[in-house]
Symmetry: C2
C-alpha cells in the first residue's frame, strides 16, 4: 500500500475499511468515500481549494454552539437536510408533514402555565393559537408532549422555547407574539456560505413544534404564515404548503383567552396529526 | 419552491446556486451538492445517522486546533488528501515527490544554527542528515527555505519544527534525534473515526520537510525509513517508495559534525529536487 495515486486511492481506502464490523457503517463509509472522491476528481480539486474547504470546516467548528449548530445549518443550506427528511418521512396521508430535525435542548424547556403569555418581549402582534394533537382517524391523543420554538429575528440565539400543556382531550392553547422573519447572520460560517453562493439570508417566519406521544412517531415541524414574503425563497428549503396557515386578524375585543384587547390580534386553529409508530 | 422532496431537492439547490458569480465556485458547489445528495440517496441516510454525522463534525470542530487539525486528519483518513495531492502533483521525472500538504505555522519557526542539535529531547538514536536542494538538472538552488518537522510519538502536539540554513551551494546539514512512530490518539475525533473503521492508529516514522525557493514549486514531503513496520499500513495513505530512505548505522566514532560519539548513530544523504514554477 505505497505510491497510491488518483487511480488507486479509492480502492485502497475501501480495502482498508473492509474490516469494519458494523455492516451499516461499512455501507455508509463506502458510499461516503466513493462520493467524496468522485467530487474531488470531477472538479479536479486543487490543494488551495482543499485548504479553503478545511479552513471553512474549522471556522464552522469554532463558531458551532448548541444553539447555533453551524454544521446542521450548512446541511440545510446545501439541501441535504430536506433530502434526508423527505426520504424518511413515510407517513399515512392526513398526518402533519415533518419540516425539521428534532434538536434535543441542552436544558429541558419549562412547562408553560395554561394560558400564559409566550414571547411577551416581542414587538410583533399578539396571536392566539389553539388546536389538538390527534391520530390520523381524528381521535384525540391525550398527554402528548408539545414543545414550541419561536424563532427570533436576526437569529441572535434568543429563541423562545417552552413546553405547552396538552389536556385530556388532546387540546392545547398558546398565547404568543407572532414569529418574525429570521435572518441567518452574515458573520456566521453558514451565513458566509450563503453570501458566497449569492443567496438570500432571510427565512420565512415560523413556529417550530415538536410533538411526541407514546406509541406515535415524534413529529418535528414548522408552522408558516400565508403572505410571508420569503415563503418561496427559504434559504433552507423547508417550506411545505400544508404547513402554511391563514391567521385571522381581529381589530380588538374579546380574545380566545377571555381577556379584552384594545390592540388588534390574530387567531389560528392548527391540529397536529401524528402517525403511529 | 415549496414541497421539495427527494426527487426535486437537488435541482432546486442547483437552481438557487446558479446565481454564484464565480464560475469555479459554481462548478465546485454543483459537484459538491450532487455528490453529497448521491451519497445520502444511495444509502438512504436516516435522520439518526444524519444527526450522528453532524455531532461528529461538531466534536471535530471542538477538538480542532492549529497544531492538531482534525478536519485535515479526517480528510487524510478518508484518502481525500492523497487523491488531491496526486491529481495536482504534475512534476518532471526526477523531482522529489510531494507527500503532504503545507501547513502555515501559527508562529514562524526558528532558524536553527548550522550544526545545532534538533530534537535533542528525544530517546531515539542520533541521526545526521545532509544533502542539497537541487533543480532537476542537478544544479544547486542557493538560499532555499528549508523547514523540518519531526513528528513525535503519541502525536502529543510536541512537534519539533525549525528552519534549516541552506548555504550558497544549496547544501544543508541536520543533526537530530530520529523520528519515532506516530500515533493518532484514540481520544481525538480522527482517532475515534479510525477506531470505528477498525483501522490501526500508528503511522510510519517520518520527517516532514517543506522546501521553497524563488522560481520553484514549493515542495512539502515526508522522509520515511526503510524497515519501519508501518510503511504498508499508514492510516493516512502517505507512503511513497521514492521517499523511503536507508539510514546507515555507525557503532560510534567520528560523526559528520566532526564530534566523537561513544554512542551509535545514523547517517543519511537526501537531496530535495524542486520543479520550476
Amino acid at each position: 500500500m505505497r505510491n497510491l495515486d488518483e487511480m488507486t486511492i479509492t480502492q485502497a481506502v475501501l480495502a482498508k475499511n473492509s474490516g469494519i464490523g458494523d455492516a451499516r457503517l461499512c455501507e455508509i463509509m463506502t458510499s461516503l468515500v466513493q462520493n467524496l472522491h468522485a467530487f474531488a476528481r470531477e472538479i479536479k480539486l486543487t490543494e488551495t481549494e482543499w485548504q479553503r474547504g478545511i479552513d471553512f470546516l474549522a471556522q464552522a467548528g469554532a463558531a458551532n454552539t448548541a444553539d447555533r449548530q453551524q454544521f446542521a445549518l450548512i446541511s440545510h443550506v446545501l439541501g441535504l437536510s430536506t433530502l434526508v427528511l423527505a426520504q424518511n418521512d413515510r407517513k399515512p396521508v392526513g398526518c402533519t408533514e415533518t419540516a425539521a430535525f428534532h434538536v434535543t435542548p441542552e436544558q429541558a424547556p419549562v412547562l408553560l402555565d395554561a394560558g400564559a403569555d409566550f414571547g411577551a418581549d416581542s414587538n410583533t402582534a399578539k396571536g392566539y393559537l389553539q388546536g389538538a394533537v390527534l391520530d390520523v382517524q381524528g381521535h384525540a391523543i391525550p398527554h402528548a408532549v408539545l414543545e414550541v420554538h419561536r424563532a427570533c429575528p436576526h437569529d441572535n440565539g434568543a429563541i423562545d422555547r417552552a413546553l405547552l400543556p396538552v389536556d385530556e382531550g388532546g387540546r392545547y392553547h398558546l398565547c404568543t407574539a407572532l414569529p418574525d422573519n429570521q435572518h441567518i447572520p452574515h458573520d456566521s460560517p453558514a451565513g458566509q456560505l450563503l453570501a458566497a453562493l449569492n443567496r438570500p439570508h432571510w427565512r420565512p417566519a415560523h413556529f417550530k413544534f415538536t410533538v411526541g406521544a407514546t406509541g406515535y412517531q415524534r413529529l418535528t415541524t414548522h408552522v408558516f404564515r400565508a403572505g410571508d414574503p420569503y415563503l418561496d425563497a427559504d434559504p433552507l428549503f423547508g417550506v411545505r404548503s400544508s404547513l402554511i396557515t391563514e391567521w385571522q386578524w381581529h381589530s380588538g375585543g374579546m380574545t380566545p383567552a377571555g381577556t379584552v384587547s384594545n390592540d388588534p390580534f390574530y387567531t389560528l386553529a392548527f391540529d397536529f396529526v401524528l402517525a403511529k409508530e
